[in-house]
Amino acid sequence: MILVNNRDRVPYTQGMTVQDLLDKMGYSYSLITVTVNGTLVPKEEYDYFVIKDNSSVNVFHLAHGG
């Protein structure tokens, strides 16, 4: 099981990448920041970074305004 945003539980599948998880969650927005178990995963690694079972993933959505 993967914990997303300290709230949602997503079933784990072997070899699942950050991009797979984003697709599964329906996150199509490009302006995001992702951490896996507290460590930042850069955008260019979403397709390759494999998530382990029982990981905690945070997807931060960045909106304009400041």
Binding site: L31, T33, G38, F60, L62, A63, H64, G65, G66
Partner: protein
């Protein structure tokens, strides 16, 4: 201890006086957060912004008519010295770029991300995490419009703290009450982290 900090939370002023906070962006978020940080007792700030104060900033940013036309870093420095003449300020009136982060923010214990555009927020957070993986960044996303107070939250993952509703976009318009609320949330988290009251 200085008289201005007499009503502070006991035991926090000494720690905050020794702390350095970087504030990237001195607009609605950065100006309001910086004021709260200095009033809270933070001893040193690094302020970065390339922009000058315009009349259209006064609906939400911590500036006054007499600041219009001044560089935001300099206008904010004036205000902060008026609160605490002994505060240490380092001003950079430049356009911040990813490769500058490591050198410019070397002495900072924590970063307040206070940019306007989402794509800039993204590279700033990522550059900070790469340069300083063990130091917290308190960012903001989704502070536009008005009302919807209960939609504003703190989203934490690793050393990233993101304040806001993560949805509302600047095109909705910006209202001082909501922008300053999120800016003060950022400052509140920062002082709690710096004084060890918030888990990092």
């Amino acid at each position: 201890m200085k008289e201005i900090f007499k009503r502070n939370v006991p035991g926090t002023t000494e720690i905050l006086q020794k702390s350095t906070v970087a504030v990237a962006g001195c607009g609605g978020l950065g100006s309001n957060a910086a004021v709260a940080l200095v009033r809270s007792g933070v001893g040193s700030l690094i302020l970065v912004d390339f922009d000058t104060v315009e009349l259209s900033n006064l609906n939400r940013q911590y500036y006054f008519h007499n600041h219009v036309g001044m560089k935001k870093t300099e206008a904010l420095a004036k205000l902060l010295y008026d609160i605490n003449p002994d505060v240490n300020l380092e001003l950079h009136s430049i356009v911040l770029e990813p490769q500058m982060i490591e050198k410019l923010f070397k002495s900072a214990d924590l970063l307040i991300e206070a940019f306007d555009k989402a794509e800039n927020k993204q590279w700033l957070i990522e550059s900070w995490c790469r340069a300083f993986p063990d130091r917290p960044v308190v960012a903001a996303s989704g502070l536009s419009g008005m009302g919807r107070t209960e939609a504003v939250k703190v989203h934490k993952g690793g050393n990233i703290y993101l304040c806001g509703d993560e949805e509302s976009q600047a095109e909705e318009g910006l209202c001082a009450a909501r922008v300053a609320m999120v800016a003060n949330m950022q400052a509140n988290i920062a002082v709690a982290i710096l004084t060890g009251q918030e888990e990092v």
